[in-house]
């Protein structure tokens, strides 16, 4: 099973997993690691590498989501890529629709396919209420 790892500032990812549990139920193989104020970035990057290798031990790979492109969780994932054995992809701009897609579709796709699918869903899930009403 493709592992899912959220890397975020503070507990954004942890809270999102809790919310996802309400809708999807099974959170097996889905983990969040938060970067907290005062944490050392290299230590965080080590924890990220460990999490990736643990989640990816079944050889299906890991889909990593980070909250923000170019911020510390993202940089840590990039640094971790030098120290991991498991394969992973990393998508930025973590959103709830993206996460739900990953959790519900991971059995049917390969890692690369799942990554592309989640990015597509992430982009397409941004709509506006009154615009949608006009379309009806």
């Amino acid at each position: 099973m493709i592992g899912i790892l959220l890397l975020t500032h503070e507990d954004f990812g942890k809270a999102m997993l809790k919310s996802a549990e309400l809708i999807v139920g099974d959170l097996e193989g889905a983990v969040s690691v938060g970067l907290h104020r005062g944490d050392d970035i290299m230590a965080f990057s080590d924890r990220v590498a460990q999490a990736i290798d643990t989640l990816g031990r079944e050889k299906d790979g890991v889909l990593v989501f980070v909250d923000l492109f170019g911020a510390s969780p993202y940089n840590a994932a990039a640094m971790a890529s030098q120290n991991t054995k498991a394969k992973f992809r990393c998508i930025t701009g973590l959103s709830f629709p993206m996460l739900l897609e990953a959790l519900t579709m991971r059995d049917g796709f390969s890692l690369d396919e799942l990554a592309l699918d989640c990015m597509k869903i992430g982009r397409e899930s941004v709509k506006e209420l009154f615009q949608e009403l006009e379309k009806v």
């Binding site: 005062g38 970035i41 923000l68 640094m79």
Partner: protein, 157 residues
């Protein structure tokens, strides 16, 4: 010599909105990251370049090379000097780079360091380094983000 608009210690170096915010408020056009270890690590250089705002010129150099650049290049650029530790600032100052103001933005909690304030932890050696810089006339202040008020580091010792 180049116009340094901000010298900042932040051991996360370039990360997203934080650097963008400081660059905006100082109207910086160039970032020079100074670190002897990072400058020779091609992969780290790649990561930092990737994370930097693409409207700003970015360079990552050893203390020796950065000293040369800061002292000898001439241009209209407004430069942010970004380092991980006060030790690097001491090297720059020893090489003749003019640094009068030093912003302390973040130093992570690792072995040997004790928390000084919020996201800033320092070791006894680093504390001594700060004191030596202060003795040389450098004003060292803590200001994590531009919206926060600046606090003299001596008040936190």
């Amino acid at each position: 010599m180049l116009n340094i608009v901000l010298t900042r210690i932040d051991d996360r170096l370039i990360h997203g909105q934080v650097v963008t915010a400081w660059a905006k408020i100082t109207k910086a056009t160039r970032i020079i990251v100074v670190d002897d270890e990072v400058a020779v690590d091609d992969f780290m250089v790649k990561i930092l370049t990737m994370a930097a705002p693409n409207t700003i010129k970015i360079g990552i150099h050893t203390a020796a090379d950065a000293s040369d650049i800061l002292k000898n290049e001439e241009s209209d650029e407004r430069v942010i000097v970004l380092v991980k530790t006060p030790v690097t600032v001491e090297k720059l100052v020893a090489n003749g780079v003019q640094i009068k103001e030093l912003n302390l933005g973040g130093m992570g909690a690792i072995q040997g360091r004790k928390q000084l304030y919020r996201n800033i932890s320092i070791s006894p050696e680093e504390k001594d380094c700060f004191k030596r810089l202060i003795d040389q006339g450098v004003h060292v202040f803590v200001q994590i983000v531009p919206d926060a008020s600046a606090t003299d580091i001596e008040k936190l010792f």
